[in-house]
């Protein structure tokens, strides 16, 4: 693998050079590292005689950047405006109540606590399973696997991301859940003293549970975490690798001392992106999870329930009046904020470690 990464680095540079052959050779080389940091003194003269191509391209990219920020802002604004009338009509505390009753627009009482807890629980189960597995796959692909195998492997994993989530959902409830039922039952029975594994609120069923949903969700976020981590691990500087090898490190020690420290930030960022997808996953969870009637989430992995997104997906077809719909939109708003916080946390982690 040291040869795979050493071939990669040189191939990157000539590509950059040849594409901008018209400009002086120093241009592209100095620009690449300099643009995130301070601009070079020579670069400060260039903007004066800016060419139309530069200006157009700059405006286009700026426009694209502003567009996406404005889009997010407008989505947030839309959710907020739609949610306010419903929140006003809510008879109970929106943030701390478990129940969800929006049938009668004149007498609504709904809270998101249950949705929040189930959303977080399913996503965390998924993350706990997917993170180590993805790490293993990414390390195998970049450090252990022969180059040809790695390529086809990576392709297969990326293909996993192209499977629609309804397929995962149906597979989960029709094939996977029955298959692991004996195992789930055994865990549930054996470790029932442990609160997280206590009999759930959809018992005696152990199929449509957060446990099952979390595993399916793990499979769904696996490709995201894997391919991003793989990209990062691949970029471990060759001198680091060669240095470690030269010092007599075994392959595992090379990974531990160079690849992992170098790729840590990227790996965490990838996991956070995976978490973002898990939080927002909709139809697979709506299909898999059973929803207990009149009982709340009780911090067992064998509970059922709805997540924010699955709740909205299950009921959108019957949004008959704006106030009731507003209740769901308010829930969507909380999910929006939650996802935002997760991504924000991920960015700050990457930012800190990346320096």
């Amino acid at each position: 693998m040291s040869e795979s990464s050493s071939t990669r680095t040189p191939t990157g540079d000539p590509g950059g050079r040849s594409s901008s052959a018209t400009t002086p050779p120093e241009g592209p080389i100095s620009e690449q590292p300099a643009s995130p940091a301070a601009p070079e003194p020579s670069a400060s003269e260039k903007p004066k005689k800016a060419r139309p191509g530069d200006r157009i391209f700059q405006n286009l990219t700026t426009g694209a950047g502003i567009f996406v920020v404005a889009l997010i802002g407008l989505i947030g604004l839309f959710l907020l405006i739609q949610a306010i009338p419903a929140l006003r009509a809510d008879n109970v505390n929106f943030l701390t109540n478990h129940g969800w009753s929006t049938n009668d627009p004149a007498n609504m009482s709904f809270g998101i606590l249950d949705l929040l807890e189930v959303t977080v629980a399913t996503s965390l189960v998924a993350l706990v399973i997917a993170m180590p597995v993805s790490l293993g796959i990414a390390l195998f692909l970049t450090q252990y696997a022969p180059k040809k195998l790695a390529r086809s492997f990576a392709y297969v994993i990326d293909l996993l991301a192209a499977v629609p989530s309804i397929i995962f959902g149906l597979w989960g409830i029709l094939v996977f859940a029955p298959a692991i039922e004996p195992f789930s039952q055994w865990i549930n029975d054996t470790f029932s003293w442990f609160p997280l594994l206590a009999p759930g609120n959809v018992a005696p069923s152990v199929r449509g549970t957060i446990f099952t949903a979390g595993i399916v969700l793990a499979v769904m976020i696996l490709p995201i975490i894997t391919s991003l981590s793989r990209e990062v691990f691949e970029r471990t500087p060759t001198p680091h690798l060669e240095g470690a090898l030269a010092l007599g490190a075994t392959r595992w020690e090379v990974i531990r001392t160079t690849v992992l420290p170098f790729g840590k930030a990227g790996y965490i960022g990838a996991s956070m992106l995976g978490l973002g997808r898990a939080l927002g996953e909709t139809i697979a969870l709506a299909v898999i999870l059973l929803i207990p009637q009149g009982r709340n989430f009780d911090w067992s992995l064998f509970d059922g329930g709805s997540t924010f997104a699955s709740k909205i997906a299950a009921n959108y077809s019957e949004f008959n009046n704006e106030i009731s719909a507003g209740a769901y939109i308010a829930a969507g708003l909380v999910l929006f904020v939650l996802t935002f916080l997760v991504n924000f946390a991920a960015r700050s982690v990457i930012g800190k470690k990346g320096d």
Binding site: Y155, D158, S205, G208, E318
Partner: protein, 376 residues
Amino acid sequence: MKIMRPLSAVGIVASAALVLAACGSDPAASNSSSSNSAAAPAATGTADVACGGKSPLSAEGSSAQKNAIDIFTQQYSKKCSGQQVNYNPSGSGAGVKQFNANQIDFGGSDSPATGADLDGATKRCASPAWNIPMVVGPVAVAYKLSGVDKLTLTPSVIAKIFSGTVTKWNDPAIKAVKGNESANLPDKAIQVVSRADESGTTDNFQKYLGAAAKADWTKGAGKKFNGGVGNGAQGSNGVATAVKAADGAITYVEGAFAKDGLTPALIDSGSGGVELTSENVAKSLDSAKFLKDGTNDLALDLNGIYASNTPGAYPLLLTTYEIVCSKYANADVSKAVKAFLTVAATDGQQPLSAKGYVPIPQSLQTKVLAAVKAIS
């Protein structure tokens, strides 16, 4: 990395092909079955249709009748070549709303438009708006319980099970129902499964319990299940899957889903257990009354059906309506609406049984056709 771009495009094409193949099987299935279902004593025959008018017609509303509308559209296109109907299954509320806002040519709804909705519809039409019942679907109380392949339930027992008063299969209340004397009912918990999503099926089921078992069902109606017991699952298919997965489970579900391991219970409204069959459902409809007798607004008095104890009539059913103007401002639209509804009420009815609906009985068909004819 570079090699992946074209390959993933191949993947997308492949999965798209799979999806298309899955869609394609649907119409074929309904075509092949249209010939073999001559069991129901019902609406058959082909009527003279004056084809023409607006195409495509636009309609929107109840998702419960989506499959039926698809069949109607097929028959309509066959009968009046080239004529199309676009139906958007966006929910009954949306159907009424869009109809009243003059966005669509006719609306579909799980329940007849009444009160303010009907006033709005009348305003849009500048003439009375009518509810025309077109699709009838029975709802089964289906269970899975090993060793019990025939079970009779009364509305009162159903209400008790779905509100959590009766929790064991060997409860004396179940044993006491006539017809269950010989059933070997185990000492097993009843797992109630309901619809987790809001649905017209739930609404009609709860209305039924409210009408047929007033004393035992106090939880009211509505599209959300109010029983407060058991677990919810997503959609009719999800409910059926959940029941199949658990011995001792019971649910209410559209008749078409009560198969492959699910057994529909017989319902005893006071005159003996009645099986869920097309004939028995049609019998219920035969004795049905209309909310506005003598007019062409054919909104059925479902509470009357639910509470009746006509021998051999299966009472637990839901009907969906097409909401139309009695007089359209545009003659083109009215011509197409009339043609479509005529086909739906005649050629369209027989193929419905393959999808789990029940063709409307002759008596109702006559009234429907008279109403359709009166549209101008």
